[in-house]
């Protein structure tokens, strides 16, 4: 899933400062799960903006809405009438959602209320961790299902750097595990350490030609 966090309130306030009529749009998929941009978060942000304007003695009118997936044109198109009633849209979706909205309603400024951070998974209640760097050239068959591209702070392909901290923690953050220590332990458990001893040549960083576009064939 895509993981995002809400931008600081000050930044959001500044983005929408010139507008009196706003549409706040949440997304019912990834960012709902990571507590950043679902229906509930739309409600909270709307209340905070109303209170902030009130404190400044300025008026604001906010429409709240949440679509199932803001990255799909069909689902976003149902907001057409609401967009017509406002001066600007504040999107609580990932970057793909914000851009879908902005592309659908070109006459109206669409602002991001979130910072999209990574593709990851919920590790425990309230904690999400990065799992995939979207490189287009998956390496997980060689590393026991642990991605060194994103879980190693340096994205190294041939083993740990010299900075591993005591107990197998990362040079960059003692709270995080060294991905290569995790890979070593998992491959050892599976009797497949020979995979780690192999040399892996420089990665093809153009496996996805940016900007990415895929023409899929229907099964």
């Amino acid at each position: 899933m895509i993981v995002a966090e809400r931008k600081p309130m000050e930044e959001i306030k500044q983005m929408v400062a010139p507008y009196k009529k706003l549409l706040l749009v949440g997304c019912g998929t990834c960012v709902t799960v990571c507590w950043a941009g679902g229906e509930k978060e739309v409600g909270i942000l709307a209340s905070q903006l109303r209170l902030a304007r009130q404190a400044e003695g300025k008026e604001i009118s906010i429409i709240e809405a949440t679509v199932e997936r803001q990255c799909e044109k069909e689902m976003v198109s149902e907001l057409r009438d609401k967009v017509k009633q406002v001066e600007a849209v504040l999107s609580l979706a990932c970057g793909a959602g914000v851009q879908t909205m902005a592309g659908m309603f070109e006459e109206t400024p669409v602002f991001p209320a979130l910072n999209t951070t990574f593709v990851g998974m919920p590790e425990q209640e309230g904690i999400w961790t990065e799992m995939c760097g979207l490189c287009g050239d998956c390496f997980l068959d060689r590393t026991g299902g642990i991605c060194p591209m994103v879980r190693c702070a340096k994205g190294l392909l041939n083993g740990p750097c010299g900075g591993t901290r005591r107990g197998g923690k990362c040079e960059v953050d003692p709270e995080k595990d060294c991905a290569w220590v995790l890979i070593y332990r998992r491959l050892e458990k599976q009797g497949r350490l020979d995979l780690m001893k192999k040399y892996y040549p420089p990665k093809n960083f153009r496996a996805v030609k940016r900007p990415g576009k895929i023409q899929a064939v229907k099964a």
Partner: protein
């Protein structure tokens, strides 16, 4: 004229190199003083590459200064700041100017340096960098194009004997050895039992590679505690911390020099490994005192 490091590695019983850290700025006079002071006292001057991810005068430029002043430079290249094109271009330039020793490093994380918002590159890792240098040594670039004018680099790598856990680190060192390296420079070592067992493992994988133990003088108990807490891969044992804490105020640097000299002497006398690499950052001018104390001058 300095003896080539490649030749030194083949012929000398006990090899001594020192680290030369570039300055932050364009005033190179202090570096030139240090180079002049050290060039005939050590077998090579090993120049750091934006060490600790702090932006400085380039490794390549400093290596040129070493060369111009009659020393033997080792060019450190990290994978942090340059992609595969830039690294190859730098290697061609280095070789064309007589710099033919290269130490292949991953590089510290951007997060520990002074430009924390920079984009980390890591297009290659240190093992891939070693392979790249050998591909260039064979007269080709990374994608197989012929080079007009080949290169012939002497290749080295680093290792951390005190890694915890050690096994994943040893797998990596094994891959560096397979890639083809003439010397290994270790992270700072203080525990000789640890160093001995590390050397034994390396010898089991490669009998010819020269192993230089990293020597970082510790100039006070507080510095030792700080290093243990904050510098990954370094562990100063308690007995040294005790010795340092009993040192009178103002005598820390002299004590650090004395301990470093004593360690080097022991490594040499007991033939624990093939030499040492002294890293005394910011106090390069005091390195001769260490060498003198170790009986190497």
């Amino acid at each position: 004229m300095a003896v080539s490091f490649k030749e030194t590695l083949k012929t000398k019983d006990f090899i001594v190199t020192a680290e030369a850290a570039p300055v932050k700025g364009s005033n190179v006079s202090k570096m030139i003083e240090d180079i002049e002071l050290l060039k005939d006292k050590v077998d090579a001057l090993n120049v750091t590459d934006n060490q600790s991810s702090v932006m400085r005068y380039p490794s390549l430029g400093t290596c040129l200064l070493v060369k111009e002043h009659g020393g033997e430079p080792v060019l450190q290249i990290t994978c942090r700041d340059r992609n595969r094109l830039a690294i190859q271009a730098d290697l061609l330039f280095a070789y064309s100017r007589g710099i033919d020793n290269v130490l292949c490093l991953t590089g510290d994380s951007i997060d520990v340096g002074d430009h924390k918002e920079a984009k980390p590159v890591f297009d290659l890792d240190s093992v891939q960098l070693i392979h790249l240098v050998h591909i260039m040594n064979s007269g080709k670039d990374l994608v197989g194009n012929e080079l007009d004018g080949a290169v012939d680099f002497c290749v080295g790598a680093s290792a951390t004997p005190s890694s915890d856990p050690l096994e994943p680190q040893l797998v990596k060192v094994g891959k560096k050895l397979d890639g083809g390296i003439s010397f290994i420079q270790t992270q700072a070592v203080y525990d000789f039992d640890e160093l001995r067992s590390f050397v034994k493992v390396i010898r089991g994988m490669d009998s010819k590679v020269k192993i230089l133990a990293g020597i970082v003088p510790v100039v006070g108990a507080r510095m030792a505690a700080y290093m243990n807490e904050n510098v990954p891969g370094i562990f100063v044992p308690q007995y040294l911390i005790d010795e340092l804490s009993q040192t009178p105020k103002g005598k820390g640097v002299s004590k650090g020099i004395e301990i470093a000299a004593r360690m080097i002497k022991q490594i040499k006398e007991e033939k624990i490994c093939d030499g040492v690499h002294i890293m005394f950052i910011g106090r390069e001018s005091r390195i001769p005192e260490i060498l003198e104390g170790a009986g190497l001058l």
